[in-house]
């Protein structure tokens, strides 16, 4: 049995209410960090992390470091990256030890949800599991997708055949299939879920926890399924689910590869992804980015410590780039943000709102995003997300 102390969810603001899309600056890692931070909010932290997705960006390594840095967790923690959908997510949860952060993240539709296990909270336990083969959708090592194209075959010989073979009581929620199938399989009205992959299982758990519903939660993917029984107990649900709106229109300008210095990337990584500044001994003034200092007497100060920066602030100045920039989608907005109460400013891109809608004086929070992809390397850093990003008018276009 596993006990869940909190569930965090994240949906990108883009797309339609039923089908969210990632922004240009988001991928599975940034989605996972948003959901993970929502689950960890107010909690004491986690001792291990499991990320389940079929869209991991850094297949040759590097996902874990980004994840731990973005979540503000110790780089010594164990991270396991698992390929999978809703069944894999429920498997990971039902076998998780206490203080494990289990995150599911998906791109199409986009969303992420994370569950933090604990010694107390909402109890869940493994009920059924069946692994069968019906590869109606395949993807090879180069990323090429092949769809067999027979939804009725998938329903009859995949989902329904597996549900019948697995047996057990009727579920109260089904993750990994569309709404119509879920309604036909469930008792009562199952929760509407925004995603279809690994995160769907935890969006379902969040809905059950919110509503206080107990019963079987089924996670399905092609012809495989895992069922868990959700029992009673308190679990905090923290949702970061802004209203959906259309993806801003922009124009991508083709260009050569944008170069990257991985030496510079590596030096900057900790401060850049953990959002930390340098504090030199005997000084209250923070350096961001961190740097060595030379004193009035010429002495070198290089043994600074990294300290967390505030994640809220006010726009000091900002601009919107409209001119085509090779390799980027325009327009985009850049702002200098005065972070709260530390005398530190940051130059960052704007996210979560239409370009050109942020003004001097606007407040917002700093969020981890994929700020660029350079020579094939996703370059993560922080972006400014304005508070109440509900406005749509382009003030500059007026």
């Amino acid at each position: 049995m596993t006990q869940v102390s909190s569930v965090g969810t994240y949906l990108p603001c883009w797309g339609s209410p039923a089908r969210r899309q990632v922004g240009d600056d988001e991928d599975v890692l940034t989605l996972a960090v948003e959901a993970g931070r929502a689950a960890l909010e107010g909690a004491a932290g986690a001792e291990r992390v499991i990320l389940i997705s079929r869209e991991l960006p850094l297949l040759e390594g590097g996902n874990s470091a980004v994840l731990l840095a973005g979540l503000g967790l110790d780089p010594e923690l164990e991270v396991s990256e698992r390929l999978g959908g809703a069944p894999a997510a429920l498997d990971a949860l039902s076998s998780a030890r206490p203080r494990t952060l289990v995150i599911g993240a998906d791109l199409e539709p986009a969303g992420a949800a994370a569950v933090l296990t604990s010694g107390e909270g909402l109890s869940v336990r493994a009920a059924t599991r069946l692994t069968r083969s019906l590869p109606v959708r395949t993807r090879d090592a180069s990323g090429a997708v092949h769809d067999y194209g027979d939804p009725r075959l998938l329903r009859e010989r995949g989902l329904l055949a597996s549900v019948a073979a697995a047996g057990g009581e009727k579920p109260v929620a089904v993750a990994g299939t569309d709404r119509k199938q879920a309604l036909s399989l469930c008792t009562g009205t199952p929760p509407e879920l925004p995603t279809l992959g690994a995160s769907a299982a935890f969006f379902a758990l969040a809905a059950l926890a919110d509503a206080g519903i107990t019963g079987t939660l089924l996670g399905t993917e092609q012809a495989s399924l895992t069922g868990i029984v959700v029992e009673t107990g308190p679990a905090r649900v923290n949702r970061r689910e802004p209203p959906a709106r259309p993806v801003p229109r922009g124009k991508y300008t083709p260009g050569s590869e944008i170069p990257i210095s991985l030496a510079a990337y590596e030096r900057a990584f900790e401060a850049k992804l953990r959002w930390e500044a340098a504090r030199h001994p005997g000084s209250d003034e923070l350096d961001f980015p961190p740097r060595y200092r030379v004193g009035q007497d010429g002495s070198l100060s290089s043994d600074y410590e990294l300290v967390p920066l505030p994640r809220t602030g006010t726009v000091y100045t900002g601009v919107t780039v409209h001119v085509p920039v090779p390799g980027l989608k325009t327009p985009y907005s850049l702002v200098i943000v005065e972070l709260d109460e530390v005398g530190v400013r940051a130059l960052v891109k704007v996210t979560g709102t239409e370009p050109g809608t942020v003004d001097i004086g606007d407040r917002g929070r700093m969020v981890l995003r994929r700020v660029a992809v350079r020579s094939g390397v996703p370059d993560y850093g922080y972006a400014f997300e304005p508070e109440g990003s509900m406005r749509t008018a382009d003030k500059e276009a007026a």
Partner: protein, 386 residues
Amino acid sequence: MRKVAVVGAGMTPFAEHFALGIKDLLPMAFAECAASVDKGLDKGDIQAAWFGELSTTDGFPSGILADTLGLTDIPVTRVENACATGNDAVRNALFGIASGAFDVALVVGADKVRESASKDTFWEWAGMTRDMAWDYPLGLVAPANFALHVARYLHESPATKEHMAMVAVKNHHHAVKNPKAQLRFDITVEQALNAPTVVAPFGLYDCTPQSDGAAALILAAEEVVDRYTDRPVWIRGVGLGLDRVMHQHKRDMTTFPATVKAAKQALGMAGLTPADVDVAEVHDCFTGVELISYEDLGFAERFGAHKLVEAEATSVGGSLPVNPSGGLKAKGHPPGATGVAQCVELFEQVRGEAANQVDGARIALAHNVGGPTAVSAVTVLEGPGA
């Protein structure tokens, strides 16, 4: 220190010189400069050269200069100080002569911006000016560097986009008479305001074009100046100022402290005040930068720059004409050449020979700011008088 004068000045037109390489532009600028020396110049008189170039087109700049001009027997030093390169090259040559080390020196500035595919130019040039890990990936295009300042300036000061448009109209109008200028056509305030947005708040007409070009000066010590001209243009003051490089470290973005420092040095050395200046070439890579620079140079009170353009004080015919050449905005901006070319324009202005002459101009000031906004160079010139 010995007094130093400019005795010759010349430049190529500023343009997209696809047909001319750096090795063509350098001899062209030098030959025009040599031809402007009233009593003639023997190349063998030149004892040292300073060459301002930001890029390294076709090879290492000092060698390219020495080789293309046939000056391989003298020391040549490359100066690279972002957009302040040109006036810093003048400054270094001045000290070389004023110290007594040399009597005659050559200053050249040049750049070939339009040498790579336009789709590559931005990232190549941004790589020279941005922190690779922190700022480079953000897509901080050149106009954005300055727009961050100007957006805040428009927020705090009474100046508006209309005032920026008035600067564009003025500088375009000035360039019409200048045969060396890249954009020789008049525009209206309405055209400027309705132009496509490049980086808000800048529209197309708020921005300098991309240019190629070269400019050259011959500097001589007071003791030998008579050999070259009876109408020397004295370098009265030079200054160079710096500031924090990253925008996020500049506490007040409505001003360029580098300019304030450079101007204070140059005017202090000259024993002059901003009110003594009759004509100025001011770094107007973007129109709003000209407005901010009026204040940093002491031509206007803080947040009072808009009043100068409203009163047309900085137009030719006004009390302090600025950028009679058309400025970077309309004359063009090959960065290494820009500061040297400003001095070419002012050399002609204070000798009464400029294409767009300011009546009675005697004291002239040239100003660059760059890096993108972390270095400034100012040069103060005085004409031979009546």
